[in-house]
């Protein structure tokens, strides 16, 4: 017993191990759940009625896909009643750039896409600002535009670096392969469609300090961009994010320029400025998930084992670079997904097109890279005469193997483990037989079932971003207030951080309160992105709490008459471990120890810091160990396809997912289910259509509303959805043994797409390859069914 306790004492200061009775690991509701359901939770634009006198901003958007702005006249706009000011490039005191690469002018001299904001009007009301924008006169000189990936590839219109990941000799791998296939695959992007559109409210205080409330995943970068646009230093700008009504990567980069416009307006008018994009503006102005084109050649040996892969991935970056380079890097680092490919050459490039700037979106290129591989396997399996699940199994990474970019696949044994478990839980083999029976008796409806795995690397590829800070205060009454650099967008980060703090301090969860994210509390933060929010900020919160706890342990040790390392904090009680001395069995209340510490002039506040150890990445050679660990998962999905229409029904999905030891099971379950359905939306429903004609509307987004861009609804929730967290899965490289969960589950939705492929195949003879467009909308599925009906067997 004594030994166990001593181990626990040491463990309490290690990153991954948990103390006894931890608050992490308990299934608790979202920390704002009661505020959400009563409508009391405030989002940025909800501050407006609480901020009298605010001006409203409205953009003038380009009606051309590409045009030089030869003149811009604002007189008529200023004559509109209620118009206060028109913001143009001439008003920018600092740098006219919404990004950091000087390729994203905030007030452009050239409209680079249909819908590009060329100036902003400030009005006493939103209606006045809108009418003012309509009165601005702009002379456009239309320029040639490039809209599609095919056009950009043909014109060789690329931007940014063109990285290559290689291992071995892809040509040799292909040459020795018994079976070779090649193909192309172009697939669509995805609109974030956060229910809360982009919003910011800026104000200036009496000392000239600029405060921007912004719906941003990256307050520090919003702060930096606002500062450089205004020509200020960072310490003159504060950014606060109360919470976001969804982020999904869409608020990692896109909020900066919008916050800067609001801040510029506030500085120039001395009044608060409210900026809130309506849905049409949000969807036509801001970035989305990158569409990709892939061309590939793959080789398998006689047993279906991958021998070589040569592929070129071209992403559609839109009009400026934005985050396209790191997105492409992550895509190339995930083409392998869960499979070992001995000889490989992966080339990447970014097309520049006259569309919105494509940006971060849950998975950050990873899903696109993995989709290429899953599509290859789905298409090639019937040509190889191997069941697709078996083909996937045969190619899984084995322990000791490395990725094409050189990283050891640690815990590779978890891949077959999650696959075996999900196959068993889904009763896969028996249901395959049932489905064959169903299909034999239903000429117009066919079912399909598929299993797909996920391996996803956790950490920012860019090593420097893998750091975080926190600020923790313990007040004299024992209550705890924590601040950290991460933002809350619904993913439950704040819930987890409260649990981490309560665990590290050994206090009840109710004693820990969390304050909104602000750049003047924790500086120089990284984006809450790449699924790293809990890993990084959790490490920092834990560090801050442990500093305070160590100081309190000294205070308590005197009273308990033990050494400080024998003091235990748990559940609001402070006790001595070990059972020696007179104080054995004595329990001090947390509040009592805190009081005593204050009187002894012991600091009750601490700044915490965390950086992920062991990472290195060479973005030029595209080699290194960019990830701290991999998150694993697998899903089995069954679908039914209606042969008359191509419409599909999701019958059942089973998921086994590796979240390490969950910090907060209810939150993690929500991330898995939500990610899965969002992935299913991307792959089957959500379709961005642009006017690619040469007519007047060229470049216009045609699906720019909820009525035309369809998100998943209840009808896309599988009738049965079973999620199981992989057990005994502690990750020793992350806070309290947990793993990141934000992004990896999105790719579990590949199982839906591959099940659709199986169902489509059942309309035709055995052994033919099925090509399926993405998104696999009812129309796309219908044409695939028609092709299957006309196919001849192998």
């Amino acid at each position: 017993m004594a030994t166990a306790r001593a181990t626990a004492a040491l463990a309490a200061t290690s990153l991954a191990e948990r103390p006894e009775h931890p608050v992490v690991g308990r299934a608790v509701s979202h920390e704002s759940a009661e505020l959400h359901v009563t409508g009391a939770a405030l989002y940025t634009d909800d501050l407006l009625p609480r901020m009298p006198g605010a001006l409203h901003a409205w953009p003038l958007q380009s009606p051309h896909a590409h045009a030089r702005i030869s003149a811009l006249r604002t007189e008529a706009a200023l004559a509109v009643p209620g118009v206060v000011r028109v913001l143009t490039a001439a008003d920018v005191p600092g740098v006219n750039d919404a990004g950091v690469r000087q390729d994203e002018p905030l007030f452009p001299a050239e409209a680079a896409f249909h819908g590009h904001a060329v100036c902003w009007v400030l009005g006493e009301s939103l209606e006045a600002a809108r009418l003012g924008a309509a009165a601005v006169e702009v002379d456009y000189e239309p320029l040639p535009s490039v809209l599609t990936l095919a056009e950009a590839i043909a014109a060789e219109q690329f931007q940014g670096a063109q990285p290559i990941v290689t291992r071995g000799d892809a040509a040799a791998g292909l040459a020795r392969a018994a079976h070779r296939c090649s193909g192309e695959f172009e697939f669509g992007g995805q609109e974030h469609f956060t229910l809360e559109t982009h919003a910011a409210i800026a104000q200036v205080d009496e000392a000239g300090q600029v405060l921007v409330h912004s719906s941003t995943q990256h307050p520090s970068e919003t702060q930096e961009i606002v500062a450089h646009v205004l020509g200020l230093r960072s310490h003159e700008v504060t950014v606060q994010c109360l919470r976001m009504g969804g982020g999904f990567g869409g608020k990692e980069w896109q909020p900066h320029g919008l916050a800067a416009v609001a801040a510029l307006g506030a500085v120039l008018t001395g009044r608060p400025v409210r900026m809130r994009l309506n849905r049409t503006q949000d969807i036509t102005m801001t970035g989305k998930r990158h569409p990709f084109h892939a061309s590939w050649e793959v080789g398998f040996d006689e047993d279906g084992r991958l021998q070589g892969l040569r592929a070129t991935l071209t992403s559609d970056g839109g009009w400026c670079l934005d985050l396209s380079e790191p997105v492409l890097q992550r895509a190339l680092c995930h083409v392998d997904n869960a499979y070992f490919i001995p000889d490989v050459e992966l080339r990447g490039r970014i097309a520049r097109t006259n569309k919105t700037s494509q940006t971060a979106f849950r998975g950050f290129g990873g899903p696109q890279g993995m989709l290429v591989m899953e599509d290859i396997l789905g298409r090639c399996a019937p040509l190889l005469g191997i069941d697709p699940t078996e083909l996937r199994r045969r190619n899984l990474y084995a322990p000791g193997q490395r990725t094409p970019y050189g990283q050891l696949v640690r815990h590779a044994e978890r891949l077959p483990a999650v696959i075996d478990e999900v196959a068993a839980r889904a009763d896969l083999d028996a249901r395959r037989a049932d489905i064959a029976g169903f299909n034999a008796t239903h000429p117009h409806r066919k079912r399909g079932i598929a299993l797909t795995p996920v391996k996803f690397g956790i950490s920012f590829n860019h090593t420097a971003f893998n750091q975080a800070g926190a600020l923790v205060h313990v007040y004299k009454d024992g209550s705890v207030l924590i601040n950290h650099g991460g933002t809350e967008m619904g993913q439950g980060l704040h819930t987890k951080m409260r649990q981490v703090a309560a665990t590290a301090l050994g206090v009840p969860l109710g004693l820990v309160r969390l304050a909104p994210t602000r750049t003047d509390k924790v500086p120089n933060t990284s984006a809450t992105a790449a699924s790293t929010g809990a890993d990084l900020n959790g490490g920092a919160v834990k560090d801050a709490c442990e500093q305070i706890r160590a100081r309190l342990a000294v205070v308590a040790a005197e009273r308990l008459e033990v050494g400080a390392d024998a003091v235990r904090f748990s559940g609001g009680s402070v006790t001595a471990a070990g059972g020696e001395g007179e104080a054995a069995g004595t329990t001090l209340a947390w509040q009592e120890v805190v009081q005593a510490a204050y009187l002894q002039r012991v600091q009750l506040s601490a700044a915490g810091y965390y950086r992920t150890e062991g990472l290195h990445w060479d973005p030029v050679r595209m080699q290194g160990d960019p990830f701290k660990y991999f998150a694993y998962g697998a899903a089995v999905s069954e679908v039914e396809v209606d042969g008359f229409t191509g419409a599909s029904t999701f019958l059942r999905t089973d998921i086994v997912h590796d979240v390490g030891d969950s910090l907060s099971p209810l939150v993690d379950l929500g991330q898995i289910e939500g990610g899965f359905v969002q992935g299913a939306g991307w792959l089957t429903l959500e379709e961005l259509r642009w006017d690619t004609s040469d007519g007047e509307g060229r470049g216009r987004l045609l699906t720019q509303a909820a009525s035309t861009y369809k998100l998943p609804s209840f009808s896309e929730l599988p009738r049965e959805l079973h999620v199981h967290l992989l057990e005994r899965a502690a990750e020793d490289g992350a806070v309290y043994g947990s793993k990141a969960v934000g992004e990896p589950p999105l790719m579990l939705a590949f199982s839906i797409r591959e099940a659709l492929r199986q169902a489509v195949a059942a309309f035709g003879p055995a052994g033919h390859a099925v090509e399926l467009a993405s998104p696999a909308t009812p129309e796309a599925v219908f044409w695939a069914v028609e092709a299957a009906r006309q196919a001849s067997g192998s």
Binding site: H30, G39, G490, T645, A706, F714, F782
Partner: protein
């Protein structure tokens, strides 16, 4: 006329200084009631949903969830609104939260993540929670209905981007019956506030709610360009997305003369200002074609406001009711200050969003002749099964005698500038034996009907293929 007043969460609030173009949502938010959110501004996402006290047809109140982003606030003069803030209270310093049962289930089951859509879900869910016949439906959980009688379609107009919906479904299916002392259940036993005449004129425009049909037709005779407003599910989108600002708005949704529903030996007459939900409740089972159509028509939130008169009045070629009503050989009663006339729906549409409705005329009712054709079907082809706009809609009404098709009426939407009858296909069916060969040859004719276009919803080729497939499907699925 008294001052403009809307009761929100039990508090009467003056709403004088707003013109006809301020939505209920914007007005609520200006009042500081910010629980209702704008997500899409076109009635697709439900983040703005609130409850309104509406007549249940039997003298009491039905708590009805509607989108607040679409109707003008002035349309609620004298009415009672309940928001998520009124259903329960958040924790405040020193006081624990007091959650409504719907809120408690949503909070405890992980039904909220970012929380932005949540107040709207809570209101839509509360409306179904209070639906009087919900608990009476003792059906086992099936398809899209919970063991507690909760119809998931009540939430078809709410979008959530975070949760994937499973916990929301679980919350909905876990709801019990309202407690005996439940305030809103108690309120629902009394009559809702009656409509009252409203008149607001200022520099932004004029909003009038006439007291009766005679006043309406007189007004319309003087100003035929007025916007006739019922559920605002189309007009609200025009205002929010295309910024139309009609100078005169005439609210007609509560006119009793437009809200009748009469069944005679020869016809069913449906008042043009009845909402689709009201038609659904009242006619349940009487017209199988409508039973098939209405659940596929937009979402519950929209159907709680939208009217048949509105769907026909806008003249959209992709409205879902015209194909069904064409196949049923419906006629429209048009009324004006000078009289009333009856027009077959097949002769009503004259071009894209154009009709024979003359200036000064209003649609009073839709008349469906009886007896109904024994074999009917409504096929809606859309990307998403819940709440989507049709790429193609096909309605069939067939009479078979001795194995032969004696009459065939087929209405099509989405394949021409107006809803049309598939006349060539009807001819290809009539007089023929109802067998696979007939279905195949007629389907080939149907494929060629209309002049479908390529657009963002579907290709012309797919639309044509769907016409053909729908007749094949009818033959396969029809139970004779």
């Amino acid at each position: 006329m008294g001052s403009i007043e809307i009761t929100v969460d039990g508090d009467p609030r003056a709403a004088g200084a707003i013109g006809p173009h301020t939505s209920l949502l914007d007005w609520l938010r200006e009042q500081g009631r910010t629980s209702a959110k704008e997500g899409c501004a076109e009635g697709e996402c439900g983040a703005c949903a609130v409850l309104v006290a509406r007549p249940d047809g039997a003298g009491a109140t039905r708590w009805t969830a509607v989108n607040a982003c679409l109707p003008p606030a002035l349309a609620f003069d004298g009415q009672e609104i309940v928001t998520a803030e009124g259903l329960g209270t958040a924790p405040t310093p020193g006081a624990a939260a007091e959650l409504h049962p719907v809120q408690r289930e949503m909070a405890e089951r992980g039904g909220s993540q970012c929380g932005y859509c949540t107040p709207g879900f809570v209101c839509a869910m509360a409306a179904e929670y209070y639906r009087p016949d919900r608990a009476a439906e003792e059906r086992a959980a099936h398809g899209e209905c919970g063991p507690n009688g909760f119809d998931l379609h009540a939430l078809s107009g709410n979008l959530c981007r975070c949760t994937g919906y499973r916990p929301i479904r679980d919350a909905a299916y876990a709801l019990g019956a309202p407690a005996a002392d439940d305030a809103l259940a108690h309120r629902s036993m009394q009559a809702p506030p009656p409509p009252r005449p409203t008149s607001v004129r200022d520099e932004r425009g004029t909003f009038l709610r006439p007291a009766d049909l005679a006043e309406l037709t007189a007004l319309l005779g003087e100003t035929p360009e007025a916007l006739l407003l019922a559920g605002a599910t189309d007009a609200g989108v025009e205002r929010n997305l295309r910024h139309t600002r009609p100078p005169l708005v005439l609210a007609i949704d509560r006119l009793e003369e437009l809200r009748g529903l009469h069944v005679t030996e020869t016809a069913i007459e449906i008042g043009a200002a009845l909402t689709l939900s009201e038609i659904e409740h009242t006619l349940a089972g009487r017209v199988p074609m409508l039973d098939a159509l209405i659940p596929q028509f937009a979402s519950r939130l929209i159907r709680n406001a939208a009217t048949l008169g509105g769907n026909l009045g806008t003249g959209s070629p992709i409205g879902d009711s015209p194909p069904a009503l064409l196949a049923l050989e419906a006629t429209l009663l048009l009324v004006s200050a000078t009289g009333e006339r009856e027009v077959p729906l097949a002769e009503y549409f004259t071009g894209y969003r154009q009709s024979v409705r003359a200036p000064g005329e209003v649609i009073k009712a839709v008349r469906i002749p009886l007896p109904l054709a024994p074999l009917t079907a409504f096929h809606k082809i859309a990307k998403r099964r819940f709440d989507d706009i049709s790429s193609v809609a096909v309605a069939f009404a067939l009479t078979l005698e001795g194995g032969r098709v004696t009459t065939a009426r087929i209405g099509l939407g989405g394949v021409a500038a107006t809803p049309i009858r598939a006349l060539a296909t009807e001819r290809a069916l009539e007089g023929r034996e109802w067998n696979e060969e007939t279905a195949r040859s007629a389907a080939a004719v149907l494929r060629g009907e209309g002049t479908p276009l390529d657009d963002h919803r579907a290709s012309a080729r797919y639309r044509s293929a769907m016409l053909e497939q729908s007749l094949l499907r009818l033959h396969t699925e029809a139970v004779i």
